[in-house]
């Protein structure tokens, strides 16, 4: 569904990603782990078209995706929940969600909304509240919910559990599984590498902008190098 081939990218001419290869298959949860600054966020930003790759190619759903604009990629079903959530602070929760369905027909919107409300009931309860007054955890749920409104084929999540209480962390990770079960592929960047690997069908270990290891998630979690470097064990 998504594949990166020898992608290099960076900021202001400074390369962060070096010839990165990566694939995500239909209905898969793929985790991306790596040290701080390894380039995980940059990878997601590059896939989403916010950073232009300097070389290499990205294909999504059988078509070239590098060079496309972020909003066009969303239309093609490639949706990201960024690190900082990028909510519409002054808009209400419901408006945020409805904006999530910007590209969808008006009629299907209520249906999608109901699905999101089912997944995160709190969002239905707080429908009229301005997004910026939600607590951190609620904001995270709203961000994921908004992304789901676009009915993505591939959902990319950048550190969805950071700053959440343990209880909410479980809830979010649980929701990710539910999302996958509904047939959406997920590319997950997560600091709680332990959980991420446990959850993932496959995982990549990123080091200085290249993938140094990959394989089924639980298998990597048992890899000594990974344990030493990322799990702090």
């Amino acid at each position: 569904m998504l594949s990166l081939e020898a992608v290099s990218a960076g900021y202001h001419g400074l390369a962060i990603l070096h010839e990165l290869d990566l694939t995500v298959g239909e209905g898969e949860i793929v985790a991306l782990v790596g040290a701080n600054g390894a380039g995980k966020t940059t990878t997601l930003r590059t896939i989403s078209g916010m950073v232009r790759p300097s070389s290499g190619s990205i294909t999504f759903d059988g078509r070239r995706a590098d060079g496309a604009r972020t909003s066009d990629l969303v239309a093609r079903g490639l949706v990201q929940v960024p690190e900082d959530r990028a909510l519409f602070g002054p808009l209400t929760v419901e408006e945020n969600l409805r904006m999530g369905g910007w590209l969808r027909g008006r009629d299907r919107l209520d249906e999608a909304l109901a699905e999101v409300h089912e997944l995160f009931p709190i969002l239905a309860e707080r429908g009229k509240q301005a997004a910026e007054t939600l607590s951190g955890g609620q904001q995270q749920m709203l961000a994921i919910g908004r992304a789901l409104m676009a009915r993505p084929k591939l959902l990319m999540l950048d550190e969805p559990s950071t700053g959440l209480s343990p209880k909410l962390t479980w809830a979010v990770l649980d929701a990710i599984k539910t999302i996958r079960d509904r047939g959406v592929a997920v590319l997950l960047v997560e600091q709680n590498a332990h959980q991420a690997l446990a959850l993932a069908d496959r995982a990549y270990v990123l080091e200085s902008g290249t993938s140094v290891l990959s394989g089924p998630g639980p298998e990597l979690a048992r890899d000594d190098r990974v344990r030493a470097a990322y799990l702090g064990l």
Binding site: G34, A35, A38, A229
Partner: protein, 346 residues
């Protein structure tokens, strides 16, 4: 640190030395270069040079507060006008030396800046709101001056001509190099003040507070006090520009002193040159000051093929406007900012 962390980018080097001394050295060289300048420039070019340096002074003043301090002001005319009016009133009505007016004007302007600044910070005005509040104060001064007998209402002041050249009264023969020398000296002083300020404790604190006021306060920086000091210095420098303006043009009225055009003139060179940089305002003034003369000259005697443009009113301003837009678009960091980026890239 783990072995897998991103590659180190900086290797172990001794503490880098800050380039302050280099700035001062450049300033010194510049000062020396300026000395013979008025001797070779014809009188008309000297007038342009003086105008450029007055702009530069205003922009240096603006930059101290709005560039280093990040408090975007749109009302520097207030300080300029206070400097100008203090001098004009003292000279025209009391016959006192303009040097005194310059000093007093700087003091008054600084005091005014501190009072207004205090209230603006106290009520936490920010961004465009702050800019427009400062603008409102400048406008209020203009309207007050226009209607106040104390400063001759809208008539303003004519500075009486001295029969002889006089250092005390700051008046010389037309075309005298002294004018250029004096305003150049004032500019060098203002530059030095700006350099010293930027490297001073307060200057560093103000720059930190510009980046993030909450964080600055949290490390123990008295944010309000530092900002007020920046405002005071900024106002004083700008007031000196006003005082010199009066002495050079020998005339001031409320619009010239407090009009919004004056505020824009303080901002333009700084932005073109590079906001928040040491050299930006000076470079910006040097580029912008003569620009309108150049376009006017060009259109007075248009190059072959463009003769039909000659003598069309407004065309020079159009050319100027287009150049302005192009410069701002092409060099968003300003000229000095762009140069610095290029150097540091290497």
């Amino acid at each position: 640190m783990t072995a897998t962390a991103a590659e180190p980018r900086a290797t172990e080097t001794p503490l880098p030395r800050l380039p302050w001394n280099r700035h001062l050295a450049v300033l010194g060289v510049l000062a020396v270069v300026m000395i013979p300048l008025p001797l070779v420039l014809p009188a008309a070019q000297q007038a342009v040079a003086v105008r450029v340096l007055i702009f530069a002074l205003m922009a240096i003043g603006w930059n101290v507060m709005s560039g280093f301090g990040g408090m975007f002001r749109f009302g520097h005319a207030a300080y300029f006008g206070i400097g100008a009016y203090t001098t004009a009133r003292l000279v025209a009505e009391q016959g006192v030396t303009p040097w005194l007016g310059m000093v007093l004007g700087a003091v008054f302007a600084a005091a005014f800046a501190v009072v207004i600044g205090f209230f603006s910070l106290r009520y936490r005005l920010k961004g465009a709101y702050f800019a427009l509040a400062t603008f409102a104060f400048a406008e209020m001064l203009r309207l007050l001056a226009t209607n106040s007998d104390f400063v001759n209402r809208a008539v303003g002041y004519n500075i009486p001509l001295e029969p002889e050249s006089s250092w005390a009264m700051l008046q010389f023969e037309p075309g005298s190099p002294n004018y250029v020398w004096i305003v150049a000296a004032l500019t060098v002083l203002a530059m030095a003040a700006s350099i010293f300020f930027a490297r001073s404790r307060t200057g560093q604190f103000v720059q930190a507070a510009r980046d993030d006021a909450d964080a600055a306060a949290s490390v123990g920086i008295p944010v309000v006090r530092c900002k007020l000091m920046a405002m005071a210095l900024s106002a004083a420098i700008t007031a000196v520009a006003g005082a010199f303006y009066v002495q050079y043009y020998l005339f001031i009225d409320p619009e010239l002193a407090f009009g919004s055009g004056v505020s824009i003139q303080a901002i333009l060179p700084a932005v073109i040159g590079g906001v928040g940089t040491i050299w930006g305002p000076l470079i910006g003034a040097a580029v912008l000051g003569p620009l309108s003369d150049v376009t006017a000259t060009l259109l007075r005697n248009p190059p072959p093929g463009l003769e039909f443009l000659q003598g069309r009113g407004g065309l020079d301003v159009i050319v100027y406007a287009v150049l302005l837009i192009v410069i701002v678009l092409a060099l968003p960091q300003g000229i000095y900012g762009a140069l610095r980026d290029r150097w540091s890239r290497r």
